[in-house]
């Protein structure tokens, strides 16, 4: 090779170096692979329904049964208040919203360990995987949400007063916040589980506890003043409360609180993506 042929760095399409710049989020790369995200979502959808007798019904049965149990235990036995709302509707609204968040978190938290084989053989931006998971979970949520609306309609036709408010239009924003929080926490955990597998057990347990710290089975208005800060600190609280305000007419909705959740989400996402991108380069050597 003669001197003339030596090129400047700009001529190369790809430069592989030991460490990438830590501030490079590589979102452009993920966008480039958007078709793959779509196909992963499709794969998850198809593989979930094939060879199940009840198919999508499973997604309805689960929140329905949980809501029935909550109604019996927390509503009838413990007699927790529900902001004056019908108990089933109250619990179901909390369940499906929280359900979306917790599945996003738990399913993205295994990104590295569950896909080690695939990641070890071929390169694509690893972030494609958790993003596609969050979108797949959105389909589950959509099915549950339809069921919730049908149930709402049933109550309405029976003459119960249903308080739909303008906050209902905030639903897309609420979903983005939920997905972002779940994804952010999920990929942070998945990055840590490449070194410590037992964090995986902590996730299920931790998410379970977190639910009790979130107004899923009780309204914010019932929290004693001295514990109010816990609910205020929890970024999931405003999302669930706003959802209830929108579709059931009772809840503690405010833009300020949603802005807090959004800020929280952005920070968690940013940290998550940075950590994730750092781990993705060499995790295959340690997994």
């Amino acid at each position: 090779m003669s001197e003339k042929e030596i090129k400047s760095d700009e001529d190369w399409d790809l430069i592989i170096t030991p460490r990438k710049k830590w501030w490079d989020l590589q979102l452009r790369d993920v966008w480039h692979y958007r078709d793959l995200i779509g196909l992963f979502v499709r794969r998850d959808f198809v593989s979930r329904y094939k060879q199940t007798i009840l198919g999508p019904l499973w997604f309805i049965i689960q929140p329905l049964l949980t809501s029935v149990v909550f109604t019996v235990i927390f509503g009838n036995i413990a007699k927790l208040p529900t902001d004056g709302l019908p108990q089933m509707l109250f619990y179901m609204s909390g369940n499906i919203m929280w359900g979306y968040f917790s599945t996003c978190l738990t399913s993205t938290s295994t990104t590295f360990t569950a896909n080690a084989h695939l990641f070890g053989k071929v390169y694509f931006p690893r972030l494609v995987m958790p993003v596609s998971i969050v979108i797949s979970d959105l389909i589950t949520f959509a099915i549950q949400f339809m069921f919730f609306l049908a149930y709402l309609l049933f109550f309405y036709l029976r003459g119960t007063e249903v308080g739909l408010t303008a906050w209902a239009f905030a639903l897309p924003l609420l979903l983005v916040l939920m997905a972002g929080l779940g994804l952010g926490f999920g990929i942070i955990i998945s990055s840590m589980t490449t070194k410590y597998r037992d964090l995986q057990y902590l996730v299920g347990f931790g998410v379970g506890l977190w639910m009790y710290g979130t107004p899923v089975i009780y309204p914010v208005s019932s929290i004693p003043e001295k514990w109010r800060w816990v609910a205020d600190f929890n970024p999931v609280t405003p999302i669930i409360e706003t959802f209830r305000k929108g579709f059931l007419g009772a809840g503690d909705a405010s833009w300020l609180r949603l802005a807090y959740s959004a800020g929280f989400m952005l920070v968690v996402m940013l940290i998550g993506i940075l950590v994730f991108n750092r781990v993705e380069k060499t995790f295959i050597d340690t997994v």
């Binding site: 001529d11 790809l14 196909l39 499709r42 198809v46």
Partner: protein
């Protein structure tokens, strides 16, 4: 010609042994044990794996530099553990280097495995799209090439059947078809040709030849020296993580195959004496065509030499030797118990036995031998498992460009075929 890949001082270091225990609770336990000055509860007892030394590391790649020109088909050869796979992993961005830079021009398509990401529940059609996208193709691109892919794979009839119902051959064919139509500027291939039947392998090699012929660049790692010679003009020979030599493929392959027979690195296996033994093996060596080695080229004369010592003088020890394949099946077994074998001229306490097996038509692969040794042919024998491990390489033994591959059979005999027409048979009879 312009360079499309430039590898500069590439180094990859792997830390050996268990650095973390893998779980937080165990790491905490270990820390607590250290605080109380107790032994590490997670040390493996009685394990003397030379690769499990905690805190040490090996260089899988050590300051490797080379360039690849556009349209070049470059072979990468070397023994297991020479760093070939690590190099490919870095080039395909599965893992990052420890030091050094790789600069690439154009899209890389890497085939470290066939059918990565295939999902059994999805149909052939869906998997073509999914696999294509995983390999970096756009949906529109797959759609454009879809008919071609399906035609190449030959599974048209079953394209809407879930791939879990495919035979493994169909599965591989479909998977390779997707990869073959990836059309990257640079194609990286790792030993995928080890799958499928001979016919399909030929098709794959042909396709790769086409790719190289179209002015695209191919990097090809294989143990199949015949394929390397046919496909790649130039080759790089890796040894112990660094570039041993590079240049014209046929001379590289020759040099590489030769080096293994003259290398001074080959050490005989040695064994310590055990208390209860009356006769014991001191060392085992392997010879091919008379040269010490641990690699045999298909078609060479194979022999083993066993040095032994005994506690009392003997004149005729019993010796048995078996060759096992990598599935642990004994495929050859010899013993002097069953045949008239020579004696030592006088009674000895220490000696050497050469076992000449002749031309053993073993196919390529890893083999090991078991040695039995006794005071006389009829006494109890002491047994050493895996007394020597060796590798057989594919080799064009007859110089006609045809290399026997292991999926044909376990052995491949050089055979004399006698062709007789009816007239000459009549002549013989009369």
């Amino acid at each position: 010609m312009k360079n499309v890949i430039s590898v500069e001082h590439l180094t990859k270091q792997y830390d050996l042994g268990v650095i973390g225990t893998g779980t937080l609770s165990r790491d905490l336990n270990r820390w607590w044990a250290r605080v109380r000055k107790q032994p590490d509860p997670y040390t493996r007892i009685g394990r003397q794996d030379p690769f499990a030394r905690i805190g040490e590391s090996i260089l899988a790649l050590d300051d490797v530099s080379f360039t690849v020109q556009q349209g070049e088909a470059l072979g990468i050869i070397g023994r297991n553990g020479a760093g070939k796979s690590t190099l490919l992993k870095i080039l395909s961005r599965v893992t990052a280097p420890t030091k050094g830079v790789v600069k690439v021009k154009g899209r890389i398509g890497s085939l470290l495995e066939v059918g990565t990401g295939f999902h059994p529940e999805l149909t052939g059609r869906e998997n073509v799209y999914l696999n294509g996208a995983i390999l970096g193709m756009k949906k529109a691109e797959v759609t454009r090439k879809f008919d071609e892919i399906v035609a190449f794979s030959g599974v048209e009839k079953f394209i809407d059947t879930p791939v879990k119902r495919y035979s493994s051959g169909m599965y591989v064919r479909l998977a390779f078809a997707v990869a073959a139509h990836l059309d990257p500027e640079i194609l990286i291939v790792d030993e995928v040709l080890a799958v499928g039947d001979a016919e399909f392998q030929k098709k794959c090699l042909g396709k790769m030849g086409d790719v190289a012929g179209e002015g695209r660049t191919v990097l090809f790692v294989s143990h199949n020296m015949g394929a390397i010679q046919r496909l790649c003009k130039n080759s790089i020979w890796l040894q112990y993580g660094s570039v041993r030599n590079c240049g014209d493929s046929s001379s590289m392959v020759d040099e590489y195959l030769h080096s293994s027979t003259i290398s001074t690195k080959i050490e005989p296996s040695t064994y310590p004496k055990k208390e209860y033994q009356t006769i014991w093996v001191k060392q085992v060596e392997m010879y091919c065509n008379g040269l010490p080695t641990n690699i045999m080229r298909y078609g060479e004369e194979l022999s083993f030499s066993i040095d032994f010592e005994c506690s009392s003088r003997i004149s005729k020890p019993g010796i048995g030797l078996a060759i096992k394949n990598d599935k642990d099946e004994i495929i050859i077994n010899v013993n002097n118990r069953y045949q008239i074998s020579p004696k030592f001229p006088q009674e000895i306490i220490e000696g050497k036995i050469n076992v000449h097996l002749g031309q053993v038509p073993l196919m390529s692969g890893l083999y090991s031998i078991i040695v039995w040794l006794g005071m006389d042919p009829l006494s109890d024998h002491y047994r050493i498992d895996d007394a020597f491990t060796f590798e057989v390489l594919e080799y064009d033994a007859w110089g006609n460009g045809w290399v026997p591959t292991r999926n044909l059979s376990r052995f491949w005999w050089k055979t004399d075929f006698e062709f007789l027409d009816s007239e000459s048979i009549d002549d013989l009879v009369s």
